[in-house]
């Protein structure tokens, strides 16, 4: 039985910072979901990026993968990047919106 929770996964990913805006991916609202296999602790992260043209997208997904792999007893980690639903500023935390001038 796997003891890793979605919160553990999001906490791990919150160590990954977008170098352009300076906020972590979770507070940016870029992480849509984390699916955890209760049998073997495999984790699948569903995320997006703030723009389709992001030249960092391969690296960011790699950092997310590595961050989740640092969780104790985690199994295989997969990261899927999706464009729909498209990210927008309303998905970000209030501190991000405020800092970027979105509210």
């Amino acid at each position: 039985m796997c003891t890793i929770t979605k919160e553990n996964v999001f906490d791990a990913i919150s160590t990954v910072i977008d170098p352009e805006v300076g906020f972590n991916l979770v507070e940016m609202g870029l992480i849509y979901d984390a699916l955890i296999n209760e049998e073997n602790c495999d984790v699948k992260v569903i995320m997006t990026l703030s723009t389709q043209g992001c030249p960092l997208h391969q690296m960011i997904t790699q950092w997310v993968k590595e961050a989740v792999e640092r969780i104790e007893d985690v199994g295989e980690v997969e990261v899927e990047v999706v464009w729909e639903p498209a990210w927008n500023i309303s998905m970000a935390d209030d501190n991000v919106k405020q800092a970027l001038g979105g509210m």
Binding site: T15, L49, G53, E80, K97, L100, G101
Partner: protein, 411 residues
């Protein structure tokens, strides 16, 4: 949910020389301005030399680097032969230098420089077309990339014919060919490409999302049609067709400005950094250039046309490029030196990698220089024009210095 395509971006070490040497050509262009007078004719070899130094050495060099990075992103396929960019860079750099020497000192060199640039651009356009063939996506942006590459080839072929004409190897009507050449290169390639790139980059850096693209689609169609009309009109000497082309192009650019306004209203980031200031200055310059262009058609005074071209080249095109360099170059350096350290040690943010003061000086001197120089041309005032040139050169020194600091960051 729609899945993302994989990353087809070329290696960053391949792209950075285009930006690094593009800035050196920009510095040389601004230095050269100090030796010009505000009254001139487009047919002067010295003016043609400066235009090629600026357009080939700076504008084309930076655009080619940006296209190497962005074409795979737009087309969602890898480059057909990405390594050709290692060949394009020296061919374009040396070709531009030889052409400028030809214009300024030794016309016999023009065909040689022209040949190097021709080869560089044929390789670039052929590679782009081969990459276009790989994609299954059919959008207007992709069609526009194809059209702009077609115009680039037409522009360089007419330019090469002019080079042969000037060196006495080919008997052609140079004035007629010059109009076709200028319009194919500046309108057909540079403006179309900047429109396409800015539609990707401006929303990316301003975090604007969910905007309508009807205006830009109209803008692309109108500019493609207008440039074609001017090009054919110039080749077959039909002025009415050329005027029609000018009008269509102006309408296209107005639709483009409208699209940027729509994006600006949805901008999430309100921070007034050097990029944001440069974008605002670029679009104000573009509007000023259009207004002056309209006055030229009504009054017919050459000074107004010179000022209009000045605000288009140095106000709009140049600011679009220099502003974006402060976003793109820190990214390139960060990617090479800091990306591997993520998760292992503290890494800098991109905005920490350049001197804010240096960038502000670059912007203030450059913007002042563009305004002073533009008015210098408009009123044929030597003092204003020289002051503008001095400010622009000072701004270029700050650009060069901040660029070097960015490139050396973390070494």
């Amino acid at each position: 949910m729609k899945q993302i395509s994989s990353d087809f971006a070329p290696p960053l070490k391949l792209i950075s020389p285009f930006f690094k040497y593009g800035v050196i050509f920009y510095l040389l262009s601004m230095l050269a301005l100090l030796f010009f007078e505000p009254s001139f004719s487009y047919a002067q070899m010295s003016i043609a030399g400066w235009i090629h130094l600026f357009l080939l050495g700076f504008v084309m060099m930076v655009i080619f680097g940006a296209m190497a990075q962005l074409i795979p992103v737009v087309l969602e396929v890898g480059h057909a032969v990405v390594d050709v960019y290692y060949v394009i860079f020296p061919l374009l750099g040396i070709g531009a230098a030889v052409m400028v020497t030809g214009f300024w000192l030794m016309p016999a060199l023009l065909p040689y420089g022209g040949m190097l640039v021709l080869v560089a651009m044929i390789i670039f356009a052929s590679e782009n077309i081969a990459t276009l063939k790989k994609t299954k996506i059919r959008t207007l942006t992709i069609d526009t990339v194809a059209w702009s590459n077609g115009y680039l080839l037409l522009g360089i072929l007419t330019g090469f014919a002019i080079a042969l004409g000037l060196s006495g190897d080919l008997g052609i009507n140079i004035t007629l060919m010059l109009k076709a050449h200028v319009y194919a290169v500046i309108g057909g390639y540079v403006v179309l490409t900047i429109m396409g790139l800015s539609l990707i980059l401006i929303p990316m850096f301003s975090l604007a999302h969910g905007f309508e693209e009807t205006a830009i689609n109209r803008a692309f169609k109108l500019v493609v049609t207008g440039v074609g009309a001017v090009f054919i009109g110039a080749l077959i000497s039909q002025e009415w067709l050329m005027y029609m082309g000018y009008a269509i192009n102006m309408l296209g650019v107005l639709f483009y400005i409208w699209q940027i306004y729509i994006i600006a209203r949805l901008t999430v980031r309100k921070e007034m950094d050097v990029w944001a200031k440069s974008m605002i200055f670029a679009f104000v310059s573009l509007i000023l250039s259009i207004v002056l262009g309209l006055f030229y058609f009504m009054i017919g005074n050459e000074n107004i046309l010179h000022a209009s071209a000045w605000f288009l080249l140095l106000g709009f095109i140049s600011s679009m490029i220099t502003g974006h360099l402060y976003k793109i170059v820190p990214f390139l350096v960060w990617f090479e030196r800091f990306a591997p350290l993520v998760g292992k040690e503290k890494v800098p943010m991109l905005h920490e990698m350049y001197s804010k003061e240096g960038a502000a000086m670059m912007f203030n001197f450059t913007a002042s220089g563009v305004v002073l120089g533009g008015f210098g041309l408009l009123f044929e005032s030597d003092i204003l024009f020289k002051a503008g040139g001095s400010f622009l050169f000072t701004g270029a020194i700050f650009l060069y210095m901040t660029m070097n600091k960015m490139l050396a960051y973390g070494k």
